[in-house]
């Protein structure tokens, strides 16, 4: 057996700098691919997580007439007996938690400033509200608190509110009028998602119902499942003529679309990066074929066949690919791991609640994505190298010998 790798290694060693640079190009390309994949993954996960956890849940039970954009608490739009329905849904095995929520529109005023907000009445005891339990100051709400309010960190900042301060909250009530009442800031929460935190205030459900005149009704039952892929099945199981059930897919059509597109988008980016990288490798190999025309002629004259010449050049490509992809994987993995811990700060991108993104995006490099990229980079490099390799193998020995005399 001819040791093609030994030959290839020595041939690469002839032009160390050139081999190094083309390996480096492949390394950087691979690293970039990994990082972008990790970024996309992190971004989509963050968007999904934030949007589902903070906003839509996996399932929502609503009154058939409910219009989420109006935030109306008119009784026609609300679910009756929400506690009972929530308790029933909660009994299902696949359900993690189900809790009623009341949404109303309001205005917070302090001194001479006022800001429009969404008032959410929550059951403080429900684990569904854990995402709001991270406080920068103060304490979380209790169910029987009649004067306390929980506000978001960005709102507290802009209105210069601290724990213990008093604000005036104005609400659009069920009968279409407005009511107002002073509340004391009990706590300041942060979900890490400014777009969300800046426009939300929380009241205990009972207080919110009384304040807005919603009786014992709720806008939705917010349901989290143990596995969100079960949403359709659970929706079918709990369907009832008294209310409608919406799944997270229906509630987040934009997000689902973006998520689906992101894969296609990623493929395009990958192809562009790989295209550039592979051009460098192919160029290196082509140069090497042209420089070694005479040598190829000699090998051919002493009986080396076409496929053996192809193997020789592919072995060079293989070594370049192995070195480049390995180094690139290490760099890409290190960068993804680092930014997976530290995150990349984007701040409030001003996205709506349809697609929430945390202020920091944490890169997530999945094993599958990494393996896919490694294989893709490798295979594409080798495939592209077939062109120069075949070219070398097709040289007629006479012409090859002539060309350098």
């Amino acid at each position: 057996m001819i040791n093609y790798f030994k030959l290839a290694y020595r041939n690469l060693g002839r032009h160390r700098r050139r081999s190094f640079l083309s390996g480096l190009a492949l390394a950087l390309g691979t690293a970039l691919l990994m990082f972008i994949a990790a970024f996309f993954q992190g971004e989509m996960r963050s968007a999904m997580e934030s949007t589902l956890r903070l906003n839509s849940g996996h399932l929502q039970v609503r009154d058939a007439d409910y219009d989420p954009d109006k935030l109306s608490v008119a009784w026609d739009y609300l679910v009756e007996n929400p506690m009972q329905i929530a308790a029933q849904i909660q009994t299902l095995d696949v359900v993690q938690t189900a809790t009623p929520r009341l949404f109303a529109s309001g205005i917070v005023s302090v001194r001479d400033e006022s800001v429009g907000v969404q008032i959410i009445g929550i059951d403080p005891a429900s684990p569904a509200n854990d995402p709001y339990r991270t406080l920068t100051a103060g304490e979380f709400l209790t169910a029987d608190d009649r004067e306390g309010i929980l506000i978001g960190y960005p709102l507290a900042q802009s209105l210069r509110l601290s724990v213990g301060d008093t604000l005036t909250l104005l609400v659009n009530t069920a009968d279409g009028s407005v009511d107002q009442q002073p509340f004391t800031v009990r706590g300041i929460f942060t979900t890490g998602t400014t777009a969300y935190d800046k426009g939300i205030v929380f009241l205990p459900l009972a207080k919110a119902q009384a304040f807005s005149g919603a009786g014992d009704r709720a806008s939705i039952i917010f349901v989290l499942l143990k596995d969100r892929e079960q949403a359709e099945a659970v929706a079918a199981a709990i369907s009832s003529p008294n209310y409608q059930v919406k799944t997270w897919r229906e509630l987040n059509q934009l997000l689902v679309l973006v998520n689906d597109f992101s894969d296609a988008y990623l493929v395009v980016i990958n192809l562009i990066i790989l295209g550039v990288t592979v051009t460098v490798i192919v160029n290196t190999l082509l140069m090497s074929v042209f420089e070694r025309t005479r040598e190829i002629g000699i090998l051919s004259a002493i009986g080396m066949k076409g496929h053996q010449i192809i193997t020789l050049f592919l072995a060079e490509a293989f070594l370049l690919a192995a070195g480049g992809v390995t180094a690139g994987t290490l760099i890409g993995w290190a960068a993804s791991a680092y930014f997976g811990k530290v995150g990349i700060y984007f701040g409030d991108l001003g996205l709506s609640a349809d697609m929430l993104l945390e202020d920091r995006i944490y890169t997530v490099l999945t094993f599958d994505a990494a393996v896919n990229l490694i294989i893709t980079a490798f295979v594409i490099t080798l495939l592209a190298s077939l062109y120069p390799a075949r070219m070398a193998s097709r040289m007629e020995p006479v012409e090859a010998l002539h060309s350098a005399q």
Binding site: M1, I2, L7, R10, N11, G13, R14, R294, E295, I298, L299, S300, A301, I302, G303, M304, K305, G306, H307, Q308, R394, E396, P397, V398, L401, A404, Q405
Partner: protein, 231 residues
């Protein structure tokens, strides 16, 4: 026995509109054990003829039979197969693979012929010994003089015990002493192993070793006479 038999061989090169009739109706038979020189002025077709005998190239018309096998119509790989093991080459330039040591250069045709490691080792050392290069086995070509490189090239040409060795101006880039040395080695191998040698050359130092001298002019054989070389 006939090692090579060319019948009515013509080779026309076409470059753009210009046709060059490099060989014109050549009939030539090379018998086993010959030590033959192809001579003639520059451009007379010596290299072209060697390339046809060596199956590196194909005639425009006519037939080339090597070792009893018709070669016209063979594809690139079939010709490579025919060459390896049957024909060895020594070129004017020192055609060693620069990344391989002297040892590895001589070993390459044996590798291509699928010889075992032990056999390769024995054969390579034997050949390097024969051309006086055993002590430089591990040197790369750039660490060898032109004459030394050419001796390694001769060893490589002989590696697979080919019936026929074709050498195109093997001494052209060598000084007198090195040239003579290389010729002595080839002559000795010819005598001891019966390997057939065909040279294309202008060099009188080569011609004087030949036992047959074929003279070409404008692609035609104008003279075919015994040489002065002692067999």
């Amino acid at each position: 026995m006939e090692v090579a038999k060319l019948t009515d061989v013509t080779r026309i090169y076409k470059v753009g509109q210009v046709e060059t009739r490099a060989l014109n109706g050549i009939n030539l038979t090379i018998e086993s054990g010959e030590f033959t020189s192809l001579v003639g002025p520059s451009g007379s077709g010596k290299t072209t003829l060697l390339q046809l005998i060596g199956c590196l190239d194909q005639p425009t018309s006519g037939s080339v039979v090597i070792n009893g096998k018709e070669t016209t119509g063979l594809n690139r790989n079939q010709r490579a197969d025919l060459r390896k093991g049957t024909i060895g080459f020594v070129f004017q330039f020192f055609a060693l693979i620069p990344t391989l040591t002297a040892y590895e250069n001589v070993e390459m045709p044996l590798l291509l012929n699928g010889k075992s490691a032990a056999e390769r080792r024995r054969r390579v050392m034997e050949l390097l010994e024969a051309v006086g290069m055993a002590d430089r086995a591990n040197n790369r070509p750039d660490q060898l003089s032109g004459g030394q490189q050419q001796r390694v090239a001769v060893a490589r040409a002989l590696a697979t015990n080919p019936k026929l060795i074709l050498a195109d101006e093997p001494t052209a880039n060598l000084d007198t002493e090195n040239g003579e040395q290389v010729m002595e080695i080839m002559k000795k191998l010819n005598r001891e192993t019966g390997t057939t040698f065909v040279f294309a050359t202008h060099d009188p130092r080569v011609i004087k070793y030949a036992n047959r001298v074929v003279t070409l002019q404008d692609g035609v054989i104008v003279k075919d006479a015994p040489g002065n070389g002692k067999s």
